[in-house]
């Protein structure tokens, strides 16, 4: 049952026929894990908290830095030096005290990821390095957890939702990470501050639709966005029988750290 206050808080959801009181209850009972409390993670965390997703996990080992504030809108100037997950948690519960925020102030790795994702219905990748992106894909595929992939660079972004063994996964597109330092990172190449807002909001939408069980998820389609040309494109994809993790004869059967994809800054955080 929703309380009077909840009926008022979520009234704009409840009047949607796709949500209603029942859908709002599903959101309140939902459990979503956000990996990365940065550019993508910021709008995801804010919107999921506002929407009343009942349990939100957020994982990041980093502290807030001045250079984050141009885009990571969940962190404020007085938060500099504070753990990002703590800064994020404060804003999320300030928006919506209904929400239980579980923080993981650690980097995800092969050693901890399977245990962390186990308690969640839907996972969102808001990380900034290939080692983490491939690890999240492998862990989610192996555990059968649906998740949203997101990647950004400069003025470009891409996102896709993965339903393990049903729709194309990240390794169906990219079988292995690029060699380290082959592809620049946002800290090397820059990123326009609003870009993660656009992509992260799409990822949060996918989590909400998944919990509601409504609409069509962004599966078997890679959505690409270019902010300079203001263009969205969809590239249709199919699962690949030769995929190393979700294919017919997988070579990856347990999670492992992609050490070759880690850069020095990933390792130190």
């Amino acid at each position: 049952m929703l309380s009077e206050e909840q009926i008022q808080r979520y009234s704009r959801h409840i009047i949607l026929k796709e949500v209603g009181g029942k859908g709002q209850r599903k959101l309140l009972d939902g459990r979503v894990l956000i990996i990365g409390a940065g550019g993508l993670g910021a709008p995801i965390a804010l919107y999921l908290a506002a929407a009343g997703v009942g349990t939100i996990g957020i994982a990041d080992a980093d502290d807030v830095d001045l250079s984050n504030l141009q885009r990571q809108v969940i962190h404020f100037t007085p938060d500099i030096g504070k753990p990002k997950v703590e800064s994020a948690r404060e804003k999320m519960v300030a928006i919506n005290p209904d929400v239980k925020v579980i923080t993981f102030q650690e980097w995800i790795s092969a050693a901890n990821i399977t245990g962390i994702i186990a308690d969640y219905d839907f996972i969102i990748d808001g990380t900034d390095n290939f080692a983490a992106k491939f690890l999240i894909n492998d862990a989610c595929v192996l555990a059968g957890k649906p998740y949203s992939h997101g990647g950004i660079l400069q003025f470009d972004g891409q996102t896709i939702t993965i339903k393990p063994k049903e729709s194309a996964c990240y390794r169906c597109i990219f079988p292995q990470p690029p060699p380290k330092d082959a592809i620049p990172t946002c800290s090397q190449a820059g990123v326009i501050g609003v870009l993660p807002g656009v992509l992260g909001t799409i990822q949060a939408t996918e989590a909400i639709k998944f919990l509601l069980g409504k609409g069509d998820l962004l599966t078997d389609r890679l959505l690409t966005y270019n902010a300079l040309r203001m263009r969205f494109r969809e590239v249709p994809l199919k699962r690949k029988s030769t995929c190393p993790v979700c294919g017919d004869n997988p070579t990856i059967t347990e999670v492992k750290d992609e050490l070759d994809a880690m850069t020095v800054c990933d390792l130190k955080g």
């Binding site: 993670g41 808001g126 990647g151 470009d156 079988p175 082959a182 946002c186 199919k238």
Partner: protein, 70 residues
């Protein structure tokens, strides 16, 4: 020959067909060592880039790594 590349028409002059490796050269595709190539809806395995032939009218998508997020 005319192709549709990432949703836009692209012309490669003086060729009726060519393999993926040559197409990447002709179109001066950036990060060609790491790009994923989808031909008519199928993602190609990199080891088949020399043996896979692109023909007039084919649809090609280049998918690039994007590693940022924080």
């Amino acid at each position: 020959m005319q192709l549709t590349v990432n949703g836009k028409p692209a012309v490669i002059e003086g060729r009726e067909s060519l393999n993926i490796t040559s197409m990447l050269d002709e179109l001066q595709v950036k990060d060609s060592l790491y790009v994923t190539v989808e031909l008519n809806g199928d993602i190609l395995d990199r080891p088949t880039f020399d043996s896979t032939i692109v023909k007039d009218g084919d649809t090609v998508e280049f998918l690039y790594f994007m590693g940022g997020g924080r």
